[in-house]
Amino acid sequence: MRQFGKYTLLAIIFVIMVFPLLWMFYLSLTSVQSQFTIQNFIYIFSSNNFGLYLFNSLFVGITVTVGNILFCFMCGYALARRKVPGSKFWLYTVLIVLMVPVHIVIIPIYILMNKLGLYDSYWALILPWLVNPIGIFLIKQYISTLPESLEEAARIDGAGEMKILFRIVMPLCKPALAILAIQVFMTNWNSFLFPFILTSSETYRTLPVALALLLGYQSIDWHQLMAGSVVAVLPILVLFLIFQRQIISDITAGAFKQ
């Protein structure tokens, strides 16, 4: 009986948590007359530029993710295995990035991008996010747990530093780099404020920006808007369903460190 009560409660909360997302799928797959249709998806790709927005989101997301894999790895390795001047200070930059409200930096970055001639370009969407301190310290922690003997053995065999870095240490860091990649891609894919402020033309518009601007039009076709939303949500949902155990245990484990 107690079990039954518990599952009833869990199920009610489940409906509350999942209903809005199901509602989105429902609207996207129906017409105004509540008939099943995929016309909304055909429309947003043919009459609206969702193909372009999807490409932009993918292109920026993948570039930023690759950048983070490379640069967070380099920086994390430097902290774990090399002397970096001011290494204590760089730890505090994690806090700065976490605590400083983005609205303080957004006006200067807007001005800076304009002065550099990078406003409204892929550069504006990519450059500020190629490396992040939380990722750096994730990799640094991971490398610290690896034995140095492999690197030393390679060094004795006469392997160059680049080869040691990318051929020996990097493959060993795969689990940590995978976590990093998932987190970075998800954050970047969903990001709205910077892409919204640093671009103006359709050419560089990402999915979240396109969706937010669509609502501004006078006559809203909710079914098409929700079809666009599905396009913006589906990749993340699929990633989440594949890696959910990993993602959830990472976040729960994160609380340990506090």
């Binding site: 489940f14 509602w23 430097a78 605590m99 609205h103 970055i109 800076l112 894919w189 949500v233």
Partner: protein, 290 residues
């Protein structure tokens, strides 16, 4: 190997040094500097005006009401989000069939794009929308034009959505905290005959103190910066009822291009966030010691 590594360490680490200097350090200093000027886009003459922007802010009724709305948003969401997250975590901490499934499902809103969530709820809250109909059905007499078009319900509606969205994420943080509590404590308590409530009150709650503190501080910082949902759902309206601090910065800085004035507002918000974080740390620390 460390002796020859000095220059190389520097080089390998340079991506973050450059990124930090260009996209964090410089902007932070630069916005402080322009907050002391009358810098506007398309205005060639930039003059030092000292703290004039700051004193103007505190006589600007729009800014004051935006601060008020931000505070309402933070104070009205955090207790609910925290309590719901804790309740969900307690519910999903015991081992039972389907635990991972429910954890994933409850967490799902948190990984969804804020823009999409805001769009879905714009639909649900609108006149004839699902939540609007539901409220009508149970006799709540919802605003005739939908929740987001009435100045009495718009902010509260966005707050409710935020609580719904964030609870799953903080639930996971609480679950992490619960896992750090040694089970021996509960075993000992059970042997000495402590009730479930007593165990919760005198073991679980005190042991969750660090996580709770972290959650409240992080969530306050985030909530004080609420922007995307406001932009998508109400654009600050109706009648400025959802016009928050960060929306003020956006409106003045990136729509009216009054860079100096907006930067001053941004720094005031930053100062409030910093002070509030320190107070929360102090207050919660002493509170729990008692």
């Amino acid at each position: 190997m460390k002796q020859n590594g000095y220059a190389k360490g520097w080089m390998l680490f340079s991506p973050w040094i450059i990124t930090f200097l260009v996209f964090w350090f410089f902007p932070l200093v630069y916005s402080l500097v322009i907050s002391l000027t009358d810098y506007r886009l398309l205005d060639p003459s930039v003059d030092w005006i000292g703290f004039a922007n700051y004193s103007k802010l505190f006589s600007d009724a729009d800014f004051i009401s935006s601060l008020k709305n931000s505070f309402i948003f933070v104070i009205g969401t955090i207790p609910f989000t925290t309590a719901i997250a804790l309740a969900l975590a307690l519910l999903l901490n015991e081992k039972f069939k389907g635990r991972t499934f429910f954890r994933a499902a409850y967490f799902m809103p948190s990984i969804t794009s804020m823009v999409v969530i805001a769009l879905i709820f714009s639909n649900l809250y609108a006149r004839g929308g699902y939540l609007h109909l539901l409220a009508d059905m149970i006799g709540l007499a919802p605003p005739a034009n939908g929740f987001l078009l009435s100045e009495n319900s718009a902010l509260a509606s966005i707050m409710a959505m935020d609580i719904w969205m964030a609870s799953g994420y903080y639930m996971l943080l609480f679950l992490g905290g619960l896992q750090t509590i040694p089970t021996e404590l509960y075993e000992a308590a059970t042997i000495s005959g402590a009730s479930k409530w007593h165990q919760f009150r005198y073991i679980t709650l005190p042991m969750l103190k660090p996580v709770t503190l972290f959650i409240i501080v992080i969530n306050s910082i985030k909530s004080f910066q609420v922007f995307i949902e406001i932009f998508v759902m109400t654009k600050g309206g109706p009648l400025n009822s959802t016009f928050t601090g960060v929306y003020f910065v956006y409106e003045n800085g990136l729509r009216k291009f009054d860079f100096g004035y907006a930067s001053a507002a941004a720094y005031v918000l930053f100062a409030i966030i910093a002070i509030a974080s320190v107070i929360q740390f102090k207050f919660l620390k002493t509170e729990w010691k008692a």
